[in-house]
Amino acid sequence: MLRGLWKLTWIEIKIFLREPLGAFGTIAVPVLVFLIGGRMAGRRMTPSSLDASNFIRVGLPVLATVLITISSVMSLITIISIYREGGILRRLRATPLRPQTILTAHVIVKLLLTVATLALMVLAGKRFYPVGVHVHLFSFTVALVIATWSTLSLGFLIASIVPTARFAQPIGVILLYPMLAISGLFFPVAALPPLLHALARILPLTYAVSLLQGIWVGEPWSAHLGDLTALVVLFVAYTAISARIFRWE
């Protein structure tokens, strides 16, 4: 089952980096949101005020990291739809490569991309962010990887319903950003109307935000077992649905 996985993963990484604009866009957006947002907020508010400190110390960094997840998922949706349209998936499938191997390679590439973007953000933050933030970086990275991994399964689901590659980007935007809006990052999930509340509960971003916020402010993993369980359950559910409706051509 693992035959070809590492080679395919490595090739996909190289291919990703060979398209500078795409790679730059995917990596740069979250980092720029983080830096520019920080600069603007830092200038406008007195850093000592409670609101400002909360936004700059927690809100913005978590928003930026969730954007990393969204960026990765968006990139996955785009690539899968391009590969499907071009017959690349069909071609890869007509080899002893298992279908799971092909998709796993893409998940690994996106997770590596996620970690790389986070690393870049941390480095840039050390230099340019208005306030110093002190976070258990390893735990936070693990949390982001888990959150992204779970959300990528939703990405496969979205990639299944994208009709052509041309629609991949807009459909991704239309579906993913509203998910972010009701994820609890901007207002508490409990305050949402019942329908949106119910919707938020079956979307991975909701649990991703809760987990990332918690780990960011230094809460222990044990306080977030519910989030972790939800992310795993949603991953299994979305993967199961994707496996049924995923189109290879």
Partner: protein, 309 residues
């Protein structure tokens, strides 16, 4: 190599539907060891569906398929290790390098693959090994796909519309490569909608239309069976030519437009008879050519309509 009398590919009574559309129906044929077998017909006739059922990429609704003694659906991974596949209109990642594709493919198969660099050299791609897929010409892409189809030293090679979209020169070069595959002792199964390609390349062909096989045999025998007519076109100003030609027993009709005659009859001997008549009667000709029917004519005869490209 399978040298028994068992066919390499055995297809019987295969039917495949997509919703209400019957793509192929009651398709049966055998492909033998070491031959180039062509499935020919217009676009949409069911060629690709048939081929993809044989490759294990699609599951037929009905019927039996066996390839190298394996069931393509049940034993798909075992089968894929022993066959090489080129798909119609498939692409690779735009920015994958030629050598990377070959290297990846080589790593996928259980048995030791052939030497990738050597394969690229044989296919005239050695100087393109570092090029991105997107920067290859149509002919180079097809040659790369042939390389990928051969990388696991397969026993059967499947080629689907291999030369579609190529210019005549690239097409001829590809035909040479396919003959080379047969010379290595492999069986080739190909589809084409180009009758000339089938005629020049295939040892045997099956003609498919509307999802059904109309007939299968060697191109020459198909022509003999369905289009035994032979035509000789010649030009002469001999005053008695026409009556002499009409006197040849095998001749069925003689057409004339000024000095040019079109003599039609049946059987290979017609041409000899005409030449004999010319020399016996000392008829001087300024033009002489024979028009032999080809697969295109067979197709026309069998289906009642022109072959659409």
């Amino acid at each position: 190599m399978n040298k028994t009398s068992q066919p390499v590919i055995h297809v019987s009574g295969v039917r495949k539907t997509y919703g209400a559309t019957i793509a192929v129906d009651e398709v049966s044929f055998d492909v033998h060891d070491g031959e180039i077998f062509g499935l020919i017909g217009p676009n949409g006739a069911g060629k690709t569906t048939t081929m993809e059922c044989i490759e294990g990429l699609r599951k037929p609704d009905r019927g039996n398929i066996s390839v190298l003694g394996l069931d393509p659906v049940r034993d798909v991974y075992k089968l894929q290790n022993r066959i090489g596949v080129q798909l119609q209109q498939a692409q690779l990642q735009k920015r994958i390098k030629v050598w990377e594709a070959v290297d990846l493919w080589a790593s996928l198969y259980e048995k030791k693959s052939v030497d990738g660099e050597q394969l690229l050299a044989q296919l005239g791609l050695a100087d393109k090994r570092d090029a991105w897929f997107m920067n290859l010409s149509g002919g180079q892409k097809q040659r790369l796909f042939i390389a990928l189809a051969l990388i696991n030293d397969p026993e059967v090679v499947f080629l689907d519309e291999l030369t579609t979209g190529l210019d005549p020169q690239a097409r001829r070069a590809i035909w040479e490569l396919v003959r080379g595959i047969r010379e290595r002792g492999k069986t080739v199964f190909l589809t084409t909608h180009l009758m000339e390609e089938a005629e020049r390349l295939c040892d045997r062909v099956a003609i498919i239309e509307h999802g059904r096989i109309i007939d299968a045999d060697t191109p020459a025998r198909l022509v003999d069976r369905h289009c035994p007519e032979r035509t000789v076109v010649l030009a002469t100003d001999d005053a008695h030519a026409e009556e002499r030609f009409r006197a040849i027993p095998r001749v069925e009709s003689v057409g004339r437009s000024e000095a040019r005659f079109t003599i039609r009859g049946r059987g290979d001997d017609l041409v000899t008879d005409v030449i004999h008549c010319l020399s016996e009667n000392r008829i001087r000709v300024t033009e002489f050519r024979t028009v032999l029917p080809n697969l295109e004519d067979v197709f026309l005869k069998l289906t009642g309509h022109e072959f659409r490209d």
